[in-house]
């Protein structure tokens, strides 16, 4: 094997309930701002997308109309990441830029669904009824706004990212694996530059229903992630987070500056039927990162769902020296976007020479005054999959 290449994070794009762009997020995190809506879906709570004009990154209205919200959020954040890396419109680089997007599926037409369900409940359901209603009422292009790989497709069309395009699915783990595979490919010389990320529209009734099947939704009064032991669950959040990753030599050749280095991404699938399996898996993953508990900072996408959040807490208690930040408190649970969001905030913190303050009444999150040089990003899926990334200052 040839020696592994160093991989830099040279572009970051974030759009969330706290706003858009790095400065807005940095200010919001330092102000401990949280944006939740507990009325619209009451008793369920969501972190709604901050007001945004999509024209800034998706100039053609026709393109915007072809997308549903999750795709617009993702395409917007991807464009910000390309801007941030200084490669927007650089056709030479875009034509060979690899892309791995973590995606779920898109919005449904709830009016059509509800009408069909009501007709069925009233007994108006002949054998061909479903077919006829779907054939006559579904918007023909809605399918393209639902297909998982069409977020990547839209990023290709709008921004011209057209080396390769892969879409990983599978909730939280899909975005950990997206970062893991993109990193491995660049380290091994299979790729020079890649766009990686995910997007989520948390303001969807059909998704609240899906998570309610498993009783995962946070209801009633909002509480920070670590303060949900007696009222577990997550508040869905809307966010898009994308990163430009490239080999150090590729970045240096074009004079690009790094936010940070992405040193490692590791992931596994604990057998959760066994209590303690997640805690044990996190311990094993941690040992692969070669980090020191004394200097360590953890930015975690802990969801607040149980029992997994308690398993993660048990892991963190075994590493008392760590300064922990749970993005779920500020951003809600943004599922496929949570891990790239964590990596983005870690890289931002490293580049600004400071960690944002704790936002936690339980005392699990502690102040950290010295500049972080190593940050571990953790992602533990609400029902399966776990992983970590190591983000470090460039020497």
């Amino acid at each position: 094997m040839t020696e592994r290449k160093e991989v830099w994070i040279t572009g970051i794009g974030i759009l969330s309930s706290l706003g858009e762009g790095l400065d807005a997020h940095w200010d919001a995190l330092n102000a401990k701002r949280i944006n939740v809506d507990d009325k619209r879906f009451a008793p369920y709570i969501v972190h709604p997308l901050a007001p945004v004009s999509f024209d800034a990154q998706i100039p053609k209205k026709g393109d915007q109309r072809q997308m549903e919200a999750w795709q617009r959020i993702g395409t917007y954040a991807a464009g910000m990441a390309l801007d941030s890396a200084g490669v927007k419109g650089n056709q030479e680089i875009l034509s060979r830029m690899d892309m791995i997007v973590a995606a779920g599926g898109g919005e449904r037409d709830l009016a059509v669904d509800t009408a069909i369900l009501n007709a069925d409940a009233h007994g108006n359901f002949s054998p061909g009824f479903l077919n006829e209603r779907l054939m006559s009422e579904l918007r023909p292009t809605l399918f393209l706004a639902q297909l998982s790989n069409l977020l990547a497709g839209n990023i290709a069309i709008v921004h011209g990212v057209r080396g390769t395009s892969r879409t990983f699915m599978g909730e939280e783990a899909s975005s950990i694996d997206a970062a893991r595979i993109a990193l491995a490919r660049i380290e091994a010389g299979q790729s020079d530059v890649a766009l990686v990320g995910g997007a989520y529209n948390g303001e969807r009734l059909d998704l609240l229903v899906l998570f309610e099947f498993g009783d995962f939704n946070l209801t009633g009064e909002f509480a920070p992630v670590w303060a949900r032991e007696n009222n577990s669950g997550f508040a869905l959040g809307s966010a898009g987070a994308f990163l430009v990753l490239e080999s150090r030599e590729h970045a240096e050749a074009r004079g690009a500056k790094p936010y940070a280095k992405l040193s490692k991404v590791v992931a596994d699938l604990a057998q959760r039927r066994q209590p303690g399996a997640v805690t044990k898996s996190l311990e094993t993953l941690w040992s692969k990162l070669d980090v020191d508990d004394d200097v360590g900072v953890v930015v975690t996408g802990a969801t607040g769902a149980e029992p997994v959040t308690s398993e993660e807490r048990a892991f963190l208690r075994q590493h008392q020296g760590l300064a922990v930040r749970a993005t779920g408190t500020m951003f809600g649970h943004t599922v496929e976007a949570q891990f790239p969001l964590g990596v983005a905030l870690a890289a931002l913190s490293v580049s600004r020479g400071a960690l944002f303050p704790p936002n936690d009444p339980t005392g699990l999150e502690v102040e950290k005054s010295d500049p972080p040089t190593q940050i571990v990003v953790m992602g533990t899926g609400h029902w399966q999959g776990e992983g970590m990334a190591l983000v470090e200052a460039v020497k």
């Binding site: 023909p140 057998q271 399966q384």
Partner: protein, 425 residues
């Protein structure tokens, strides 16, 4: 002896096990016999009512039962059957302990109509809305539906059942997904991360809404009668693809690992390539450059010249647009030689297995190499006079085949190609 490497110094990736399920049947033996006999697996849909649909036939898999039926459960079950077959042939690892990662191409997952209707019927209220649905969803009654309709659910099940290592990857690159799953496995072995990878692709999603969605995009054939005549790749009277279900599984290994354990080598994944088309959500760039570039990248990845390819397993969906574009791009890559390369589309018989197609067709390509016999493109009665492929029309053809290119193109600008060979180069 030095480590067996390809001409670029990378580990050679070989196939040591294959499994397949299509509408023709389960297993390589049955599928191959029917495929070379020119049999079609397409029939009129009986799984659900067809009233009101423009397209009423598909390549459904009705001989495997899952209860309760969901497309995701069928995808999972046929993936499991194909994987069992591939592992048995490969003899790798031990039961429940596969020594490498899982790459799974799977159709996007969502809550399906029977389950949505079940929820709706519980609501004791006239003219209810989705908030009423939400309030009725919790309490554990539907807990299995959460697990069933997570995107990662099929991969989780397969990973736990077969004991694959690490975090299993579920992926979608639309109609190229199966090829992408294989490509991810090849890359992992070439990086030296793994000695083996399990690459599986599955699609069991012939359900009313899926049919309607493709129908509304005018992508499906409406030549319903007779159903087995509907899929007409490269014919002048082709009018769309036929949806179908299927699964393909391949055990990939480094040549070194495979030979060290004395495994039978079924073929080599000599090259893979992909190139994105940023032109349109469903249409290819009119100049065909991304598809041409995809095939050229694949040849370059294999370190091969076009004249070394002696069979093309075409994407060949039988949509008017695809087949025309596929001919123009392929002929641009292969030049005048294209008229001498036998081309065939398995989709004429098994339909378009969508997320599974890349892997299903890779398995058929490897069987073509093994048997030195090219399956036909059936329903080839009125050749499109503008497509000058040497189509293996209607009857299988014996031929010397050493290297097959298998192409997959999908919505969202997805293009992926594979080159499969009998022996290491």
């Amino acid at each position: 002896m030095a480590t067996p490497r390809d001409k670029f110094g990378r580990p050679i990736v070989v196939v040591t096990g294959m499994g397949i399920v299509t509408s023709l049947g389960a297993g390589k033996t049955d599928n191959w016999a029917k495929l070379v006999a020119g049999e079609s697996g397409i029939k009129t849909v009986t799984r659900f009512p067809i009233e009101g649909l423009r397209t009423t036939m598909a390549g459904t898999i009705d001989f495997i039962a899952v209860d309760p039926f969901t497309s995701t459960s069928l995808s999972e079950r046929i993936a499991e059957i194909a994987t069992d077959e591939a592992l048995a042939q490969s003899g790798i690892g031990s039961k429940g302990d596969f020594p490498g990662p899982l790459f799974l191409a799977v159709a996007p997952v969502e809550t399906e109509w029977p389950q949505r209707l079940e929820l709706g019927r519980l609501i004791d209220k006239k003219d209810f809305d989705y908030y009423d649905m939400l309030r009725a969803s919790g309490g554990g009654r539907f807990a299995p539906y959460h697990d069933r309709f997570m995107f990662g659910s099929v991969a989780k099940y397969l990973a736990e059942n077969f004991g694959t290592k690490g975090s299993p990857i579920s992926l979608s690159t639309a109609c190229a997904s199966g090829a992408t799953a294989i490509q991810l496995g090849v890359e992992a072995i070439r990086r030296g991360e793994a000695d083996a990878a399990l690459c599986v692709a599955t699609d069991g999603s012939v359900n009313p809404e899926a049919v309607v969605r493709f129908s509304l995009l005018s992508a499906l054939s409406t030549q319903n009668d007779p159903p087995q005549g509907a899929s007409k790749p490269f014919s002048k009277n082709r009018d769309g693809f036929v949806m179908a279900e299927g699964a393909g599984a391949l055990v990939l290994e480094s040549y070194e690992a495979a030979t060290a354990r004395g495994a039978t080598i079924l073929g080599v994944v000599a090259g893979c390539g992909e190139l994105t088309d940023s032109f349109h959500r469903t249409r290819s760039s009119p100049d065909g450059k991304p598809i041409i570039g995809c095939m050229r990248k694949t040849l370059a990845d294999a370190g091969m010249e076009p004249e070394q390819i002696d069979h093309i397993n075409a994407h060949g969906t039988a949509t008017p647009e695809n087949d025309k574009m596929e001919y123009h791009t392929t002929s641009a890559v292969f030049g005048e030689q294209i008229s001498k390369i036998p081309v065939s589309s398995n989709k004429s018989m098994v339909g378009h297995t969508i997320s599974a197609a890349g892997a299903v067709e890779a398995v058929f390509s490897l069987l073509t190499l093994e048997h030195q016999r090219i399956p036909p493109t059936i329903n080839y009665d009125v050749p499109d006079p503008t497509i000058h492929f040497d189509v293996v029309g209607n009857k299988a053809r014996d031929a010397r085949v050493t290297a097959v290119m298998s192409n997959s193109f999908g919505f969202g600008g997805q293009n992926a190609s594979l080159i499969l060979t009998r022996e290491p180069a």
